[in-house]
Symmetry: C2
Subunit: 345 residues, 2 copies
């Protein structure tokens, strides 16, 4: 786990952070402290222009309320809410378990499912704040929904999972996807692969996984035909179709890196249909390490997403603020992913 | 979904249930209503002998507090707690999602993981009550831990998943495991199997699945050697070992029913090692429908445990009481399981 400040500039202002008060914010935005308080708590309506000015000052001064004082003052529900697309997705179940373990018996874990809907995400964030949760952990699927649900109130700690909320008052936990993809491709090259294809997701998603693939090829001095870069749709059927397309090209790949395990399992189906032996005829690596990755045959080499550790780190970031160990500006925790070598590579 | 009262006797006392008051309980146990209230709310200590007498009267009279009145009186945390062994087990993730969907935006879902420890279960139940949750849903793994955590306070609705808590004030949601096992074996017999083996769990667990297997064989007039009933330990390795043992018997089975999918996937490994074709040489059925069941090759015929529906029903039972639609004695909801025919049978 690495705790990095996002920029040198941010680090430079750290010294002043703990000292910015609500009076400083009021002065900077030219309003009363009562108005600042209304903007921060959201309990009274404030004209949009005034609100924007106060929020700009909050950001500028890195104002951060003292959560310990708040808890003593207003009491506490002893609940931390976690907003995820769907708890039945094993990644989010692991993440929630990590969060709950980090919180221990101090705080309960309140699970909210959005099904990836920006509207439901916004509604949950608003409910969670209204019902007095002590902290909020948000896994936004898309940048657009995240922008909508970025809190306009700062009276509880908020942690964003991934990079979708870019806000100086919101802590972040990020998985090192790009580095992981690079290590997967390096592994394939080390085993002798020279024509490494990639089955990625739709064009607009998972770009860091694609970036790591290209970096590793560049470093190894390998150039591959653009025909070896194909898109799937994250599904098993999509992976199967993509693998068939790859194998029909004039110079088919000797290794395939898939941006998720479901597509890799689809590629495995296609390999079976084409009587290809793995890893002799073609090597295969997935991403995510879903339960099925170790249960299919041959067992899938893949990358374990640090789901549990992500939730655990988010819990620790929230607790740090609630228990007074941190009250400064944004922290970013970057978690490594782990390559798990099984039978397909 | 079937709503059945547990016995005719229970049904007979229903008329009196709604009318038992806290004064009736006080009279029957020879204490003041204040003392009854202390026992029910747990807010003040009461001598053990007195507490036992009050609790006996509560049970005897089927006293049930009016939860709607309580919520109006004491306010409410708007949280329902669900105590499960581990949210990362897909069964419990589905169950939690079903519960959350049933609760909608009225109540939040508070997840507690016990790892199957009776001590942690007891601790969580006590925490949940102390922090003012509005309802409690408990999935106890073993009867012993359930006995320990059966609530001694009745001021919020409690639902037990499975049959581990047998208490007249606790609603229950039960999956029809035995009927599902029977239908799996009937399916194998209908496809021509005559020597149907079973790989069950350890001797003390999952007896209803074993019972359904024997019932179906009896009904079909098939007698199988006791060598065809073997025990696994719920793991893939255990299933593989059990399958090898079965196939070494003098008259090996033409079909194998496994008490869970992981053991069935292990049996699939063994079949592959023995060059057996499925379903031509041997038919195979699992239980649970984990994600991997449809992803292994050949895809596993199995039984879908109604995990989502279980959580959903539990949520509805809690809401019925909180919103005043039910205030009487225990209800038991029995949910059917569904046979999913894929390639191994």
């Amino acid at each position: 786990m690495t705790d990095t400040s996002a920029s040198a500039g941010e680090a430079a202002v750290r010294a002043t952070i703990a000292r910015a008060t609500i009076a400083d914010v009021a002065r900077a935005s030219g309003v009363s402290t009562t108005t600042v308080s209304h903007v921060l708590t959201g309990k009274r309506p404030v004209a949009a222009a005034t609100r924007d000015r106060v929020q700009a000052a909050v950001v500028e001064l890195h104002y951060r309320p003292n959560h310990v004082a708040r808890n003593l003052r207003v009491g506490s529900s002893q609940m931390i809410a976690v907003v995820v697309p769907d708890i039945t997705n094993p990644f989010y179940a692991q993440l929630t378990r990590g969060l709950a373990d980090a919180l221990g018996s101090d705080y309960g874990t309140w699970v909210c499912n959005t099904d990836g809907s920006a509207g439901r995400e916004r509604q949950y964030v608003s409910d969670v704040l209204a019902r007095g949760a002590d902290g909020l952990v948000v896994a936004s699927v898309e940048r657009d929904s995240a922008r909508a649900s970025a809190p306009t109130r700062f009276d509880i700690p908020v942690v964003c999972l991934g990079e979708s909320i870019d806000h100086p008052l919101v802590d972040r936990v990020i998985a090192a996807d790009s580095e992981a993809s690079r290590s997967a491709v390096e592994h394939l090259v080390a085993r002798g692969a020279r024509r490494v294809a990639m089955i990625s997701g739709p064009v607009t998603h998972g770009q860091s996984r694609v970036a790591g693939y290209h970096e590793a090829l560049d470093e190894a001095g390998l150039r591959v035909s653009r025909q070896l870069n194909v898109h799937g749709d994250w599904t098993r059927a999509g992976g199967r179709g993509a693998m068939h397309r790859l194998m029909r090209t004039p110079h088919p790949p000797d290794a395939v890196f898939c941006a998720n395990d479901l597509m890799a399992i689809g590629a495995l189906d296609a390999a079976r249909e084409l009587d290809l032996r793995l890893p002799e005829d073609v090597r295969l690596v997935g991403f995510d390490d879903i339960e099925a990755a170790s249960l299919v045959s041959p067992a899938l080499t893949t990358i374990a997403n640090p789901a549990y550790e992500t939730g655990w780190s988010a819990g620790k970031l929230v607790l740090d603020r609630l228990q007074g160990r941190h009250s400064g500006s944004r922290r970013t925790v970057v978690l490594p992913c782990r390559l798990i070598v099984r039978e397909t590579s």
